[in-house]
Amino acid sequence: MAHAAARPKGSVSDVREHPSMTMRDRISGALGRRLVIGTPFLWLLIFFLVPFGIVFLVSLGAPEFGVPPYSPAFEWDGGVPRFVGSFDNYIFLTEDDLYWIAYLGSVKIALGATLLCLLVAYPMAYMIARAEPGMRNILLMLVILPFWTSSLLRIYALMGMLRQGGFINSALMGLGITDAPIQMMQTDFAVYLTIVFTYLPLMVLPLYSTLEKLDGSLLEAAADLGANSFQTFWTVTLPLSLPGILAGCLLVFIPAVGEFVIPDLMGAQDSPMIGNVLWGEFTRNRDWPVASAVAIAMLALLVIPFMLLRNTSALRD
């Protein structure tokens, strides 16, 4: 792309009209473009598809005693790979309700947390997008700042707030609002609160970026055409921030489904979560193939609905 940089300032559109563009220019331009488009794919290949392939292969093996603790899915038979694996592990997953229940339990918690996150993040993002430009950066910094510390440290900090003798209970009792500490740790409340707290920036940032781009004159146009502030929000702001909402929800929902640290530390462990089940397969049962099958199945169940969603017009526009 050195080529494009060397050209005096000109937008993509005037490339087409540039009479002095030679064939060679055109070809290397196309190559450059292909490179630019290709890089994310390469990225995807290296950091997603290759690990995915490895995990998938493991899921076709059987647990074994040794290093590595599973049998390979392929054997080399005189330089020719021969498939010796099986899909038994996937069949096994269907034989015990636990996996389904855990998956649905995780989806339920992730959905709830995503929704809560959206409800909390939307007004925040809206406010930041409407703030003075100078103030905006400060507010954004405040949103991102917690991300710079380890999430585990943040979880421990929340524990300190929520526990019986913690900050909130001390404050409530000190103010005479309650006279006995409220049990907040090891409750669903603590789990949801922590997920929301942990993932909030992932929701706020995409929302902010769409709301910030929202043309103020559209809101004025709506008001001018007789919309009150609620109607303006509902018919203009909300639909136009839909891409941000979807991006934020995906960014929160997908990791939240696999989350197991937060339910483990903050919850009462009274409902199975797929993340914990996977962890248990991997460590306690030492069954890497079944653990891999759980991971692949979880990914498939997560990705397929979103692939379908992607094809709806809502995202394309």
Partner: protein, 363 residues
């Protein structure tokens, strides 16, 4: 069997620098908060080497890394039952006992117990050992159950009648099925080392009967919660409960924590020092193990972490407050009722873990 309390310590230790090329380097992977403050520094000074000291907080984490291979560790400290399975998978190299003169310091009886998991102590020597018993808030228990509370019995956590009274105050169990199910089986009068499915199911049923009164299942959270008075009873590892006790004392918050090896008996476990087959520096690993078996060094560690050691020569150097505590060094009578963990095959593991999920979640 120590669990993490301070993550930061682990991060700091992991971040310590890279040694120069010629310098000999030893890579140790141990439980978090499980060594005296000056042990590593002394070793480095005495042998003129650099130690990379990294920590973990569960056997599962250690095992996953070992099975993945190429860990680069020279010395690791698995718990006895895990050790045995890992030896079976060919993960450890036999020790060269000629390089371990301090083996003479070790308590023959305890080493013999540990040999149940490693014939002739071929692959490992005892680092520390402990029991899985009950930690409780003495004041609160007396307040709720009166002076004749059964604080010396598993009924404190396994009798629904009693646990239900303590629920409000907070009861936690270890999130460790291979320790909790045998304890429940033992309470029912069954063999805690049984691998019979029916026995496991009976244990699970008992646990399910008290499940509504259990606040959570976790293997480290109870340390803080006991110390703060946020929970009243926790099944826990001896040294961890003593740590909670020390913290409460330090905070002067009026919380008094006690640890008991219940009269019905308890699990006894050994954390073992071993050298992986692919250790980059096995000679130095031997030197380190021998160094830890020094009477003074082991005594220092016990004095710091409040776990029992298996080093007879160190006993005179250990704080009498520790040696006289029956929770750390049990009486002969109590010792007779300790049991060692059975090593399960993978089918049994699956049964145990599935039952455990059922206990915890009702699914």
């Amino acid at each position: 069997m120590k669990t993490t309390v301070t993550m930061t310590a682990a991060i700091l230790v992991a971040a310590t620098g890279v040694a120069s090329a010629q310098e000999r380097v030893l890579n140790v992977y141990n439980w978090s908060d499980y060594i005296a403050e000056d042990t590593i520094a002394k070793f480095e000074e005495q042998f003129g080497v650099k130690v990379n000291y990294d920590v973990y907080d569960s056997n599962e984490v250690l095992e996953a890394r070992l099975f993945a291979g190429n860990t680069g560790f020279d010395v690791v400290v698995p718990t006895s039952d895990f050790l045995r399975r890992q030896i079976g998978a060919g993960i450890y190299q036999p020790l060269d006992k000629s390089k371990l003169p301090n083996l003479a310091n070790m308590d023959a009886g305890l080493m013999a117990n540990a040999a149940a998991y490693d014939a002739d102590n071929t692959h490992a020597v005892v680092y520390m050992w402990g029991t899985t018993g009950i930690g409780y808030n003495a004041g609160k228990i007396a307040e709720i159950l009166g002076q004749d509370a059964p604080t010396d019995s598993w009924s404190l956590v396994f009798d629904p009648e009693i646990v239900s009274q303590l629920a409000e105050c907070g009861v936690s169990l270890l999130d460790a099925p291979t320790e909790m199910l045998p304890a429940a089986m033992n309470y029912l009068g069954l063999d805690p080392r049984s691998t019979d499915r029916a026995d496991f199911e009976a244990g699970a049923e008992l646990l399910e009967s008290v499940r509504p009164h259990i606040r959570y299942f976790h293997s480290s959270q109870y340390i803080t919660d006991l110390a703060n008075g946020d929970t009243c009873v926790a099944v826990g590892w001896s040294g961890d409960v003593f740590q909670a006790q020390a913290r409460a004392a330090e905070a002067e918050n009026g919380v008094e924590i006690a640890y008991v090896i219940p009269k019905e008996g308890a699990l006894q476990w050994f954390d073992m020092m071993a050298i992986p087959v692919d250790a980059p520096n096995p000679d130095l690993a031997h030197e380190f193990i021998n160094f830890v078996m020094d009477a003074q060094i082991t005594a220092d560690i016990t004095n710091y972490v409040w776990y029992a050691n298996a080093n007879a020569a160190s006993m005179p150097l250990v704080d009498p407050e520790i040696t006289s505590d029956p929770g750390i060094f049990p009486t002969e009578e109590a010792k007779a009722r300790l049991w060692g963990a059975e090593v399960y095959d993978s089918r049994t593991d699956r049964i145990v873990n599935r039952l455990w999920t059922q206990v915890k979640t009702g699914q």
